[in-house]
Amino acid sequence: MSDMVELILTLAVLTYATRFGGHVILSRFKRINPRVEAALDAVPAAVITALVAPAAFTTGIPEFIGAAMAVLLSFRFSMLNALVLSTATVAVLRYIL
């Protein structure tokens, strides 16, 4: 087995372990504490925000405006339309700015 195949297999096992791990840890508890519950409810917003905040604020001006557009457009349009329009905004602003 080559070093590369060994590395890929290790990464596959490690990635799978992180995807299964949270559930295994949590399912050991019979009752979920209300604070843990509130914390888990916050996971989607917290993780997605942490993922995108640097990309939105530190990439550049077209990207920052595009990110702001994605927020505003989401109030009126479907997710797909908001995505297409905000992506087009970034592309156009890159030509202009």
């Binding site: 990635t15 992180t18 917003a45 917290a46 905040a53 939105a56 595009g66 997710m79 992506t87 592309a91």
Partner: protein
Amino acid sequence: MSVDTQLINESQEFRDGIKAAIPIVAAASPFGAVFGAAAISNDMTFFDAVFMSGIVFAGASQMVAIDLLATPLPFWTIVLSVFAVNFRHILYSASLGRKMHRFGPLQKALAFFVLIDPQWAISEKRTLSKPLTTGFYFGLALPIWVMWVLSSAFGAAFGRLVTNPEAIAFDFILPLYFIALLMGFRERYGWLPVVLVSGSAALLAFSIVGPPWHVACGAFAGILFAAWRGKPKDLMALSPTENSSGEGTNV
């Protein structure tokens, strides 16, 4: 709900899943091709690149891994970096796992294998209105996995044909996608304060420690804030896990 109506719903659920996968397939296939092309130019073989996409199936950490490739192979540096990038998956499985009470043990085992960012976020959003079914979940997962493997193979085979995706802002489509998705959660209790806390903490960590730690730091700041704040009593009764607390403990 009777078994019959569940069976009828499953095929509709599967179609709903495929429909939800379409924007992801469109948005992520250029990244698969970019990964394949970058893997080849960093001295991976065609087989290694496609094999990695098939069994690791993690866009960001695959990019990190090939970015760190060198001779001799910095094995543990790559393994640790990938762990840091993947750490958020622990939160995904803790959060979504308790909504998988309709999944059998083998279905759960397979479900966690495909638990990538959009898979998790779309499934979480689905649970705001409907219970999570295997039909929806795997209808969503299958096209994305097939796309990821095929686009990696395409990029590895025709790497030089993948032209600059920046001209049409394809390199920024995933952040925008996640912002649009994030907005879908805005009705959830405490959404805005959690977003503000996580965003500030992530930006702070990004400038002080650097990537990929901003993800873990920002996420934990928002989650700790939510735990500290707790939940108002009248919302506790409406919470879906309170109604199905017995089912939620299945492994």
